[in-house]
């Protein structure tokens, strides 16, 4: 019995990842029996949960939590509940992301802190607190961005947070090798998500990579073949 936890599960790459792991015929080695969804409370989340419950051919156990992972107190309360109510998390997908792209002179420091809290501190705290509780991960996937590889004008806070996430993933990969845990960082390029609409409002989302494509890559990483491509930041780009 393998348990998957996905943050930012209400939409976009997170929701598609949940859907992918619920499929009727999962690829070998990635059979997940229980999925823990984490997202802020929203109408999107509620309707997504209803839709997932209505089409669940493998009867995967779905456990939904409502929490803002950018709020450290809420996040620590979440990990406590997950450890007590769900038990071990085998696969973790740190997907929740936040951005408010503005030029340097217009960056509100509190907003920069919010960006770092969601994109960097939340993955760190989830991993650290669950490890402290004795959790043993098989696989951790951190969803970064190509914006974290090359800084983009106007995206200072987002680019910086994702660059830090890419770097943190390298450290996690080395340090968690003692447990046999695989740590993968993926950096999707332009993907048709709500976050992308904030970054590029005038872009036609049908012309770019879809969240389902990124979810398929995450599923591949959880499969046996995943260990052959997990040694570096993996760029996923159209």
């Amino acid at each position: 019995m393998a348990t998957l936890l996905v943050t930012g599960a209400s939409r976009g790459i997170g929701l598609e990842t949940v859907r992918r792991f619920m499929r009727k015929e999962p690829i070998t080695g990635a059979v997940v029996d229980r999925i823990v969804l984490v997202a802020r409370d929203s109408e999107d989340y509620t309707s997504a949960l209803e839709e997932l419950a209505a089409a669940n051919p493998r009867e995967v156990e779905l456990v939904a939590y409502r929490a803002d992972v950018g709020d450290r107190a809420q996040l620590l309360a979440l990990t406590e509940r997950v450890a007590a109510e769900v038990g071990n998390v085998d696969l973790l997908v740190n997907n929740a992301g936040y951005t408010n792209p503005v030029p340097l002179q217009q960056v509100d420091f509190a907003d920069f802190e919010r960006t770092m809290a969601v994109n960097l501190y939340a993955p760190f705290t989830l991993v650290q607190d669950l490890l402290h509780r004795g959790n043993q991960f098989d696989l951790i996937v951190n969803v970064a961005s190509t914006a974290g590889i090359t800084g983009r004008s106007g995206w200072l806070t987002y680019s910086a947070s994702k660059a830090a996430l890419i770097n943190m993933s390298d450290v996690m990969r080395e340090e968690l090798a003692i447990y046999g845990t695989r740590v993968v960082c993926i950096s999707p390029g332009r993907t048709a998500t709500a976050l992308r609409r904030v970054l590029a409002p005038s872009e036609d989302p049908t012309t770019i990579m879809q969240p389902q494509d990124v979810a398929a890559v995450i599923e591949m990483l959880a499969s046996p073949v995943g260990r052959y491509v997990d040694s570096a930041n993996l760029v996923v780009r159209q």
Binding site: H132, V171, E174, E175, I178
Partner: protein
């Protein structure tokens, strides 16, 4: 079931930078972590007896807590010698058999412990063939005094395992005879018990010098796999 006596109390400073060698970092992690995590995953190890150099218990306990070691840990102050330390730790062992390891061997794996425990012999030590020739000498006169047949010699490694009763008997024997031993496989054998060796691995090095740390880091990070 086994009590692991994890030797961690040495005060040697050769590899250290102003701290006890068990807190020296190998690839960024305290060297003690590697043995703790590897042993923690061994089901038949149900107790870890861990010693610490005087004044460092708090730091050692913090490592155990931070890494969420699940096996119950019993803390024992280090003795004046390795021999004495094993004796003090042995007094705290609650299981009928013990495994002895030292934190200065961070390349030990869970499989190494399991392989040793699976040996049909109750008293056994990982040992390695010696790939070089050693000579018996008189250090005073520098006279070479004879010949040692390499094929009948082994490099003693850790981990080792013993019947708790046999190891206690051997330590009582050494006390009676007033002898100190630098490791326990030969002690238990000299005390009259049957001890066998299990072939070890040359990766399982003892980290003593700064060069050893670099070599261990190279091996731990897969530098030898390219």
């Amino acid at each position: 079931m086994y009590s692991l006596l994890l030797l961690n109390g040495g005060v040697g400073q050769r590899a250290g930078a102003g701290q006890p060698k068990q807190l020296v970092k190998v690839n960024g992690l305290p060297i003690l972590v590697y043995s703790l995590v590897a042993a923690d995953a061994v089901e038949s190890i149900t107790q870890i007896v861990l010693n610490y150099p005087e004044g460092w218990r708090e730091q050692i306990e913090a490592v155990v807590e931070d890494y969420a070691i699940r096996t119950p840990v019993t803390y024992v102050p280090a003795g004046a010698s390795r021999h004495e330390s094993v004796g003090l730790m042995l007094a705290e062992a609650t299981e009928d058999d013990v495994v002895i390891h030292e934190s200065a061997r961070p390349l030990v794996t869970t499989e190494d412990f399991e392989h040793l425990v699976a040996s049909e012999h109750r008293n056994a030590s990982l040992m390695l063939e010696i790939p070089f020739t050693v000579a018996p000498v008189d250090p005073e006169t520098r006279r070479v005094t004879g010949y040692l047949e390499r094929s009948t010699l082994r490099n003693v490694q850790l981990p080792q395992k013993f019947s708790t009763a046999d190891l206690r008997d051997a330590h009582a024997y050494a006390a009676r005879e007033g002898r100190l031993f630098t490791e326990d496989a030969t002690l238990v054998a000299v005390a009259g018990h049957d001890v066998r060796f299990v072939p070890g691995s040359d990766r399982n090095i003892k980290v003593t010098t700064a060069t050893d740390i670099r070599l261990a880091t190279y091996l731990l990070t897969g530098g030898d796999e390219d």
